[in-house]
Amino acid sequence: MALKVIHYINQFFANVGGEEMANYAPELRKGAVGPGIGLNAAFAGEAEVVATVICGDSYFNEHTDTAVSKIINLIKDIKADIFIAGPAFNAGRYGTACGGIASEVERELNIPVVSAMYIENPGADIYKKEMYIISTKGSATGMRAALPKLAKLALKIARGEEILDPDTEGYIPRGIRKNYFADKIGAERAVEMIIKKLKKEEFKTEYPMSKFDRVEPGKAIKNMSKTRIAIVTSGGIVPIGNPDRVEASSASKYGIYNIANVLSLAENAYETAHGGYDPVYANHNPNRVVPLDVLKDLEKEGVIGSLHPYFYSTTGNGTAVKSSHEFAEEIAATLIADGVQAVILTST
């Protein structure tokens, strides 16, 4: 019997309309629509798109919770074998919608999912670790090439077959490192690689370096006595009891704490929420991580202009760079609005 497929597409690929229809609310249609017809052809009878979910990109991204619950309700009784979203190519909101809905469908309904998009689609970056996303061209001209790969991978996933490496299957690398035994020992591979590199021949690194977001430190401040300073820490210092429930690891939030009338972070009033280092010394004297005592002295002595009356705190322990980036953008905007000219960042 053919496997049952639910297919998710946006208003554009459903021929509902363009940007003017981007607020189109979720709708379920029987059978294949638009690219789903191509998928059916590629399935060659082994699977069939039994229903298509159509949703406007703006609708999904602006009312995500509503969109998700509506869609889940629409499809929960279908008992599909796999949920396919896209291809979204390089359409950013379509990509995040495909990833977003697929992720929820897998979590809520326990149906395996797969998507397809261009590698630079923001949706790819967000969701590639969670799901297989077939790598496509940047525009819909890549439809013909994408659908057979998407269909093939969907069948394998639905059947629980072993998924091979990204080059073989055509999906965007998910960043999962897996060991295997090569044909040659590492030393021979290294010598072959240096020979190729010297000859300016093509070679393939075995580990593409992560790109670290290097930030240039700000220029030195000439006159500290006129400067308003704030403290931001990834060392997890929070009031006792961790009222904001900042996570010990992989933080999803940060806390903002008023220190206008606090002269020093006392042992019984503050603690660290950080799960990645020995907390004994930080808990014994939280000023070790957030040097409030010294800064208050410097403020009193006139060495610094003033200390911002709030400090910002999160845990840098296994916290995703993406989350840190978001925290930083929000915190920086607030601090600038509050007239802060310099920030002391402490880590652990």
Partner: protein, 428 residues
């Protein structure tokens, strides 16, 4: 320097009434080995046991592995500055009991010694499962510090390795290999049309039992220097390490450095292998800066076109690796780095603690965090007391039936960064 390595192929190891090599079998006399080990008054007791390839034996906690070698011709003795006088080695002829090893075991730190399985899935990850091993389980006297214990175990392994190596002195080797590196200008002129390639050999020297010795000197105290690659084959560099078992270089690795061998294999064909630069991995920033300045300076001084850089250990030394790579690339010299990864048990974390776009040619020995299940073995050499605590182990690693669930980090040599193994990793 020109060195002939005469390999005497050892296919079996047996207890005997005298130490000898006969028809490819190494016979060991326990009494004579014990006598040598117990010369050190810091050692209370030593147990000698044998482990052969394919036997259902687990050896743990493994500290070092030593290959028996002997100088037959040329200056110096094996392990110069440690066992013998500090004469320069690397010329003449050396005989090797190829296929045999001395494995030292001791619970020095409890969590930084490794596991060697002689059969089963774990055996595939360690090169020492393919050797005929003479295992020394070394018990210290009471209240011995870990530092003294480490040194005592280190010397015991080297002394027994030397004792057994001597057995090959008058035996005609089964095979002969020749390695030669000429004085610099001669070497450059020998293959003027081939790219000049060197080897930057990083030694684990973080201190506190993360140490490596060069002609007997603690590697922390050296500034990077130039060596003939054949010097390593005579034991100029030895291990004094108690770091994660998977990517520390045992003395066996130093003697059989596969990068040196692979560079020699292409010497005169694709490349002109000019020589080796040894450097350290100290913990202070000034040391890291100085040493990486030296490696790039020496690579430039030698007129190299390319280098292979190997790391030892992980985490903190990742910064040394990247500094070496970056500065050498900035000098206009091409690099390939050899490392391993700590990408988490799920393989989804960043693999290294440092990164730079200059490191565009990386060879990896695999993800050390990957978990493996080692089935029970019929026989244990050593002790299970530390399996839960071993680096790569976790609470509950050891099951009642003797099976072990650990990260491959705990297996001796599993993700070696001299490229000793076929293991590697790729992104899914």
């Amino acid at each position: 320097m020109r060195l002939e390595l005469g390999n005497i192929l050892i296919k079996d190891v047996q207890f005997g009434s005298a130490n000898k090599v006969e028809n490819g079998c190494l016979y060991v006399d326990v009494a004579s080995i014990k006598a040598v080990v117990l010369e050190d008054e810091r050692i209370k007791e030593v147990t000698v046991d044998l482990a052969r390839p394919g036997e259902s034996i687990r050896i743990t906690p493994v500290k070092d592995v030593v290959e028996p070698r002997v100088k037959v011709e040329g200056s110096g003795t094996i392990f110069p500055g440690v066992i013998g006088k500090v004469d320069t080695v690397g010329t003449g002829r050396t005989h090797v009991l190829k296929g045999a090893a001395v494995v030292t075991c001791g619970k020095i730190l409890g969590f930084q010694e490794g596991i060697v399985d002689m059969t089963g899935p774990g055996a595939e990850y360690t090169p020492f499962s393919k050797l005929n091993n003479v295992c020394l389980i070394i018990e210290p006297i009471e209240d011995l510090t870990p530092y003294d214990y480490e040194e005592a175990v280190r010397f015991a392994g080297l002394k027994v390795g030397t004792l057994l190596g001597e057995l090959g002195k008058n035996i005609t080797p089964d095979e002969l290999e020749v390695f030669e590196t000429k004085p610099l200008i001669e070497q450059i002129n020998q293959y003027p049309n081939l790219p000049k390639v060197g080897y930057v050999y990083m030694l684990q020297t973080q201190g506190l039992l993360h140490d490596t010795y060069v002609y007997g000197v603690d590697g922390k105290q050296i500034v990077p220097t130039i060596m003939y690659p054949t010097e390593m084959m005579d034991g100029a560099i030895i291990s004094g390490n108690c770091v994660s078992a998977c990517d520390k270089n045992t003395t066996y690795h130093h003697l059989n450095n596969p990068i040196i061998r692979s560079l020699y294999a292409q010497h005169g064909k694709e490349i002109n292998f000019v020589g080796a630069i040894i450097t350290n991995e100290n913990v202070f920033l000034a040391d890291k800066e100085r040493s990486s300045n030296f490696t790039s300076k020496l690579a430039t001084y030698l007129g190299l076109d390319g280098v292979v850089i190997s790391q030892e250990g992980f985490g903190n030394p990742d910064t040394d690796l990247i500094m070496n790579c970056k500065k050498i690339e900035q000098s206009g010299i091409k690099t390939v780095i050899v490392t391993d990864e700590y990408a988490g048990r799920d393989g989804m974390s960043q693999s290294l603690a440092d990164s730079d776009p200059a490191a565009d040619a990386v060879v990896t020995g695999g993800n050390a965090n990957e978990v493996i299940e080692l089935p029970p073995m019929d026989k244990l050499i050593g002790s299970y007391a530390y399996v839960d605590k071993i680096a790569g182990g976790f609470d509950g690693s050891l099951a009642n039936d003797g099976s072990i669930k650990v990260e491959i980090q705990a297996i001796t040599g599993a993700t070696n960064e001299l490229g000793f193994n076929k293991l590697t990793a790729k992104t899914y």
